[in-house]
Symmetry: C2
Subunit: 230 residues, 2 copies
């Protein structure tokens, strides 16, 4: 297959990129600069591209995001909530229609380079808070893209979302088998020098390594115990 | 209804904006700067927003378009083909997945402002060359957006595409009834001082006024006869 993969620089998408290259497939990476407070994640995406020796495109989406900035992810005036990622309070980190926007732009690139796969690292844990990470969204988007680009898109075009029904602990195991250098991936929402260890994505990262039984080489500023409020 | 409309500054989308405001509805306009050789069209979109006294957002998509620039629309190295818009040769003006990308970004804005309609001026004549202007695309996109944004999008959300089965001559008549100031709309692909009169969109514009029986106040550099090559 020839794939265009959306890679943020986090664990899931970096494992995805390794998985595709390890399978001997053609890969082009695309990342999005949507004005997040930290650019750190993007740097880790670039490191993955260099390591895997693949083309990497970074799309600047900041002017767009100014429009839809009711989100803690992009708006400095709103603080990043601590606690578990899957909590309802984390919903404020949702940028409306973000995943669909990124995947649609990536689909344009896929058509241009003649790719037959559009790859995304969405995983089962994302479903709790992001409706645009669910399997039914992936199916609906694939269908829409084929209609929207009939005659231009590869007739066998598919969205490749190998983790859509897989939890993050399993992704940690897959990455371990692929020798993914974890210190060259980034999860923390607060873009400090090291991972904070306390925000939603840091909790999720720590949990994935722990539950997957994979050694976690990440240096965290703090490692508070997570107490389930439910 | 409360609508977010994608307005390019061309005839169709400006008529669309007038139609929505004339119906007494709430309107927010969004335009895209995708590095087209002319910005002229965007200026006409701004004029429409001022005239209709509505909010207008311009999204810069140039960094994105660099990626998918196999198109005459955005790449100065390729000349704009003269002749009728619907010809196969005009296919080179297609930017892969462009309409879906723009409508997905506009959908993000619609969710942010709480709109229940996403309005687009696609019309029947567009179907010949743009698969992402067909009624089946509109239906598929609407479905996908509702799935992607469940819980965030208005439950009655719909795409409003009143011209999807209407030809451009009828749009000229509708605009005439709404007193749309045609000289404040732009069609020509070549961004010169005045409309060239010879490119695909100029042909289409001239034809729309003629077939609709509407007076055409546009000043064209030339008005060559169109000879159907088929």
């Amino acid at each position: 297959m020839k794939a265009v993969a959306v890679v943020s620089g986090g664990m899931d998408s970096v494992v995805l990129a390794h998985l595709i290259k390890d399978g001997g497939h053609d890969l082009t990476m695309i990342s999005f600069d949507y004005g997040q407070r930290h650019r750190k994640e993007l740097g880790f995406a670039s490191l993955a591209a260099q390591r895997l020796k693949v083309d990497h495109h970074i799309v600047n989406m900041q002017s767009m995001i100014g429009l839809i900035s009711k989100s803690a992810l992009t708006n400095d005036a709103i603080s990043v909530p601590d606690g578990h990622y899957a909590e309802q309070t984390m919903k404020q980190t949702v940028v409306p229609n973000r995943n669909s926007i990124m995947l649609n732009i990536a689909a344009g690139l896929a058509i241009t380079v003649g790719a037959d796969r559009l790859a995304t690292g969405v995983h089962a844990g994302d479903h709790y808070i992001y409706p645009d990470c669910r399997p039914e969204f992936i199916r609906s988007l694939e269908e829409m893209l084929k209609i929207a680009n009939e005659g231009f898109i590869d007739p066998d075009f598919k969205i490749y979302a190998p983790f859509v029904d897989v939890n993050k602990a399993r992704i940690a195991q897959i990455g371990h088998e692929l020798n993914v250098p974890w210190i060259e991936t980034w999860s923390c929402y607060k873009g400090e020098e090291i991972h904070c260890g306390a925000c939603g994505t840091c909790f999720e990262r720590r949990e994935a390594f722990r539950d997957g039984g994979v050694e976690d080489p990440t240096i965290y500023a703090a490692t508070p115990e997570y107490v389930d409020p439910r």
